[in-house]
Amino acid sequence: MSGNNNPATAQPTLSLDTFLDGIWKENPVFIHLLGMCPVLAVSNSVINALSMGMATMFVLIMSNMVVSLVRHWVPGQIRIATFIVIIATFVTVAEYAMQAISLEVYQALGAYVPLIVVNCTILGRAESFASKNPLLPSLVDGVGVGIGFTFAIFMMGAVREVLGAGTFLEIPLFGPNFEPWVVMVLPGGGFFVLGALLLVVVWINERFKKENAV
């Protein structure tokens, strides 16, 4: 991760960049290609994508905070195991909370809710940011990266639901003559949409680079 090599973020400084980096410049999905499994698997509708984004954001923020609080007491050799146990605890909380709030969404997401544990984004942030920074920057970083992740999975969900079912949040967008592009909600479509979105992100970043250079 480039974040921890950067001297500005290695010191306990808190700036707007800590927050904004997670959303675009260090977007976990589009730039670092982390946490792809849920992004591909549950983005077949907007509501699934948003719930997954929210749950991940909750776990990310909470685990970032706890990891940052205990960072001085955790010995180096067992830090990964410790982080994983902390993350697993919050995922269990999120899983039970989701079951209580909306059983329907919980059943639609299925085994992918407990699988938040192995979302590399969360362990990545714990290892590269929260274990080196105090509470407040870690909290801000968690919110920023969480929003970045939610944004990415929401984009996927929106494209796939609009093209694959002709609806947005289950509201029909096109007339009755619309023929749904079924491949978009199938597994293959997930790969295609993510590939296409990555192209768009690379293209936008290249444009920015050129404009700044001129």
Partner: protein, 193 residues
């Protein structure tokens, strides 16, 4: 108890619902180290081993925790077992083949966060497989992972020689290829019931 035949479980986890291409589990190593055929096959070997161990352990843990009425500990227990198995594999590989250890690099400890392995443990619990079914399921899932990795690595080795636009190089192209592979695997849909 689930009474699906062992062969159906195997076939289902290997090709019909391939872990990588239709359940989207284990995407990180799939995109990350599928550059070379040799490395990806050895990596898959490590994954199969970890899957078999953690699947058998997960079956025991599940039985124990149901008996103790403490299923909320399941996730934490699963991940702890997987993490320690990965540590074990890491030590074995480091001792027996330092070259392989170097080429796998960061992706070896990352097997811990390989969704495919936790996925095996979770799905076998969800579908109430018996012990034998669980082991076959883990083996099938591991083989499915190997097939996907090998296919992708073969394609990417060829792509090295192809002339593609700069924008598409890297992850974008890999994802498009994965999409095509995934469509191909859908053809196995009706197999085995």
């Amino acid at each position: 108890m689930n009474d699906v035949s062992l062969w159906a479980v195997f076939l289902n986890s290997t090709i019909i619902n391939n872990f990588v291409l239709s359940l989207f589990l284990g995407i990180c190593p799939f995109l990350g180290i599928s550059g070379k055929l040799d490395t990806s096959i050895r990596m898959s070997g490590a994954v199969i081993f970890v899957m078999l161990v953690s699947s058998s352990a997960a079956f025991g843990i599940h039985t124990l925790l149901v008996a103790l009425d403490a299923r909320y500990l399941e996730l934490i227990a699963f991940i702890a077992v997987i993490a320690s198995t990965v540590q074990l594999v890491e030590m074995i590989i480091k001792k027996t083949s330092p070259a392989l250890f170097r080429s796998l690099g960061i992706y070896l400890p990352l097997i811990t966060t390989n969704c495919a392995i936790l996925g095996v443990a979770l799905f076998q619990t969800l579908r109430a497989y018996s012990f034998l079914q669980s082991v076959v399921f883990a083996l099938g899932a591991g083989l499915g992972f190997t097939i996907a990795m090998a296919l992708m690595a073969g394609l990417r080795e060829e792509l090295e020689l192809a002339d593609v636009p700069n924008l598409v190089k890297g992850a974008g192209l890999t994802l498009m290829l994965a999409g095509v592979l995934s469509l191909g695997f859908m053809g196995f849909g009706g197999l085995g019931g």
